[in-house]
């Protein structure tokens, strides 16, 4: 069998349609995993010991087991205890919990990097504990966390390929399906790889712009 470039171009439209679901699940997961990361980091810095302990246990459990096993546990294991989730819900939940654990660590590092004096200044100004967190610590911590957070998002897009194993019809699933029909695996997987590369490069490009905007205040005024 030889390589057929014309065929490679023909499989592009269905692959791009599959990529739409990859993008959809990634956007949902990025939003939710960011929320989980902020809550997790706040919990890890809590004054209440059991809350701190629970948050650490969550982070360690989800960071030290394979995402694929988490997906299988949620999709195949949970129905045995009466929790029945669709493939989309299972895949999204696994991606959110897995990435959320990594985001928790990133936000925690960001919060720890906020100078103590700022917190004290906020306290001296009479801000409540919540106001301190919301208006002083979090905005700064999020900016410090941004580059590492971006890496987690890129990893998330790549990891979303694993949800094809429970039957979500995203990019990887479409590629496997096309391959099964046509047996032209080189072209199909080659093109699918390129589509992923495009998605990842677009995301990292967007992240660089967000970073530049968020860190604008660090540059001298005339360069803004």
């Amino acid at each position: 069998m030889s390589i057929d470039p014309a065929f490679a171009l023909r499989v592009l439209p269905p692959l791009v349609r599959g990529a739409a679901l990859t993008v959809e699940v990634s956007i949902w997961a990025i939003g939710l995993a960011t929320g989980v990361g902020i809550c997790g980091a706040a919990a890890r810095g809590s004054r209440i010991r059991p809350v701190r302990w629970l948050a650490s246990a969550y982070v360690e459990l989800f960071r030290n087991t394979p995402l694929l096993v988490q997906i299988f546990f949620i999709f195949f294991g949970l129905p045995r205890v009466g929790v029945r989730l669709s493939a989309f819900q299972s895949g999204l939940l696994a991606l959110v919990l897995y990435t959320g654990a990594y985001n928790t660590e990133v936000f925690r590092a960001g919060l720890e990097a906020v100078p103590r004096g700022l917190r004290e200044a906020a306290m001296a100004l009479g801000l409540s504990r919540w106001q301190q967190f919301r208006f002083v610590e979090l905005p700064l911590a999020a900016r410090i966390a941004l580059p590492a957070l971006g890496n987690n998002f890129v990893a998330l897009v790549k990891n979303s390929s694993l949800v094809s194993t429970i039957g979500m019809v995203e990019l990887t699933f479409v590629a496997r399906d096309l391959e099964a029909w046509t047996f032209r695996s080189f072209e199909v997987y080659g093109m699918a790889t390129l589509v992923y590369l495009g998605l990842v490069l677009a995301l990292s490009g967007a992240l660089r712009r967000v970073e530049a905007r968020a860190l604008r205040f660090l540059r001298p005024p005339e360069a803004r």
């Binding site: 087991t65 694929l68 096993v69 045995r80 694993l162 695996s185 790889t193 992923y196 490069l201």
Partner: protein, 216 residues
């Protein structure tokens, strides 16, 4: 709940875990060697730099699962036919090497430039200066992230299950198919991965902290 089923299958799952650790060690060893080469090329100029950068970007910016499919199903189209084990280890080695290369490059670039300049002014060639002066110092900084990479690789060996290489996740799928005790078996299997990965994560963190406290 049928926990006894999961525990009766434990010997079989442990054999799967052996496969996981074996695959992980193989990929880590080969990936480190290849990663050092690619990482050093990333510090050069011209064609070697471009080739090394393309390699790193390609394998870091696409899903490992796609890479495995490409090597296992795609390469036979070029007349290269590989067993599932060889295909999965090849894809994972490239993935590991791309990540290791960035660790190597970062560590070497973190060594003060003066070290290289001093070595060169003593009459050492570039290769000698790298081999005897810069690289040995960089190794200490590579170790913590390399342990972290190893943890990631142990988790990622689970993807080999999708092309039916025998390791822990494959063993677990077989047990689940036979017993239908999906909840129990997947939970036990997650616990087994955790027992391997958690100590590695703790080790990586400790090495990292020691490095930070030692550096001036």
């Amino acid at each position: 709940m049928r926990w006894e089923v999961a525990f009766q299958s434990l010997p079989y799952l442990v054999r799967g875990l052996e496969g996981t650790v074996r695959l992980g060690l193989l990929v880590m060893a080969l990936g480190t060697i290849l990663g050092i080469v690619v990482g050093l090329l990333r510090l050069s100029r011209g064609l070697p730099y471009t080739a090394a950068t393309a390699f790193v970007e390609l394998f870091r910016d696409t899903p490992l699962l796609m890479q495995i499919f490409f090597v296992f199903f795609g390469l036979p189209a070029l007349g290269i036919r590989l067993s599932a084990f060889v295909a999965a280890s090849m894809a994972m080695t490239s993935f590991a090497a791309a990540n290791a290369a960035e660790i190597v490059r970062g560590a070497i670039q973190s060594i003060p430039r003066g070290q290289m300049e001093a070595a060169r002014s003593l009459g050492l060639s570039y290769v000698q200066a790298m081999r005897y002066v810069v690289f040995p110092q960089a190794i200490r900084r590579m170790i913590p992230p390399m342990v972290g990479l190893f943890t990631t690789l142990i988790k990622d060996t689970s993807l080999a299950a999708i092309v039916n290489v025998f390791e822990l996740t494959t063993a677990a799928r077989q047990v689940v198919e036979r017993t239908l005790a999906s909840f129990e078996v997947w939970l036990v299997v997650a616990g087994m991965y955790f027992l391997v990965c958690y100590p590695l994560s703790v080790l990586a963190r400790r090495l990292e902290r020691r490095l930070v406290s030692e550096s001036p």
